[in-house]
């Protein structure tokens, strides 16, 4: 027979109904519930992408006149490879200096120059070796240092020469 005999002590053959508590042990269910809860909490909060809104200038038409800016107010940042940032002031015979993306790096430079120069204009020139991350980082730095006037510009051969000559 497929019946499982429960103990051999029953001699009188009386079926005794076992009294069990009506309460069930909820612990495993609670465990599962909290497991799911933590899972969903984690997945929802981590899944919120941020965005950085940038507005680029319209493509200049041929007849448009570009506004002229005093070169003393211009700070140029050239983003190089390996997370390097070269920066220089002005255009005529500039002194190229090297910086990086750490807290004491380009942020310090930006804050310093922003305090010294009135209505500073920052030109950001990412070189072909730079990564997308560098561009986002530098735009972020603009945000952090409250610089309102900046532009993302293509790198020129002159800039490339300057960087090469600086040997930094």
């Amino acid at each position: 027979m497929a019946e499982i005999s429960q103990g051999s002590g029953k001699k009188d053959g009386k079926v005794r109904s076992k009294k069990t508590s009506t309460r069930i042990d909820m612990t495993p269910m609670v465990d599962l519930a909290f497991l799911l809860l933590t899972f969903f909490v984690m997945t929802t909060t981590l899944n919120k992408p941020q965005t950085m809104e940038i507005t680029m200038p319209e493509k200049p038409k041929v007849e448009d006149k570009q506004p002229l800016v005093n070169e003393k107010r211009v700070l140029t940042l050239v983003l190089g490879g390996e997370d390097k940032v070269y920066w220089y002031l002005g255009i005529t015979d500039p002194k190229v200096e090297l910086s990086n993306f750490s807290n004491d790096g380009i942020r310090k430079v930006l804050l310093q120059q922003n305090a010294q120069i009135k209505e500073m204009v920052v030109l950001i020139k990412p070189s072909d070796q730079s990564k997308y991350k560098n561009v986002v980082d530098i735009l972020d730095e603009m945000n952090i240092s409250n610089i309102a006037r900046f532009a993302l510009v293509d790198i020129t051969p002159v800039d490339k020469e300057l960087i090469k000559d600086s040997q930094l």
Partner: protein, 198 residues
């Protein structure tokens, strides 16, 4: 002597209210989570301190992978069907209903338009195995520009977002940005992750 009777209470506590609450929260989070559709590329986004959240709808995402492959994605099933019809008209390609449907359910896609018909006729499992070459966006053959134009005519409320990988080379990103500016899209979003406190 008066004996002090210690009241005996059961050591097991009633867990029912806690369970109620736990399940309430579970159902809430289950219903609110939206699982991101499977993307053909993994993009590790750069971080920023920006706190603007990306809206959930009316988004055109241009993804750039680490290797500089450009992918295109637009949300809205019906908008996608309309977009494919418009693109097909311009390039002179006819799509079957089946292909249109599979395009409307696709997430990011990075195949040149010439190969799109073949790509759509594949089974979803097959599609995953295909290495997508990306959407051409250089000055010689700029299909991305057409995608952007027709997407905007299909859905004028569209916002354009660039989702680039941290290590994507800048020249590719520059191509995409120049394409957008050429098509008079001067305002766009760069999707980033939250900066972890440093």
């Amino acid at each position: 002597m008066g004996k002090v009777k210690v009241q005996r209470s059961s050591t097991s506590i009633d867990m029912t209210p806690m369970v109620d609450l736990a399940f309430l929260l579970v159902t809430f989070f289950m219903l609110t989570t939206k699982f991101a559709p499977e993307e053909p590329l993994a993009v590790d986004m750069p971080t920023s301190v920006s706190e603007i959240k990306l809206p959930d709808t009316d988004i055109l995402t241009i993804s750039i992978s680490k290797d500089g492959v450009v992918f295109f994605n637009m949300d809205g099933k019906y908008n996608r069907e309309e977009l494919l019809a418009k693109m097909g008209e311009k390039y002179g390609v006819q799509f079957s209903d089946q292909e249109v449907r599979s395009f409307s359910l696709l997430s990011s896609m990075g195949v040149p338009f010439g190969n799109l018909k073949q790509f759509l006729s594949m089974a979803p499992e097959e599609r995953k195995l295909v290495k997508q070459p990306g959407i051409p966006c250089d000055s010689l053959n700029n299909e991305l520009a057409d995608w952007v134009i027709f997407s905007r005519t299909t859905n004028p409320k569209l916002r354009i977002a660039i989702k680039g990988d941290r290590d994507a080379e800048y020249p590719v990103v520059k191509n995409v940005i120049t394409t957008l500016i050429d098509k008079k899209v001067n305002r766009f979003n760069l999707i980033t992750n939250m900066e972890s406190g440093s």
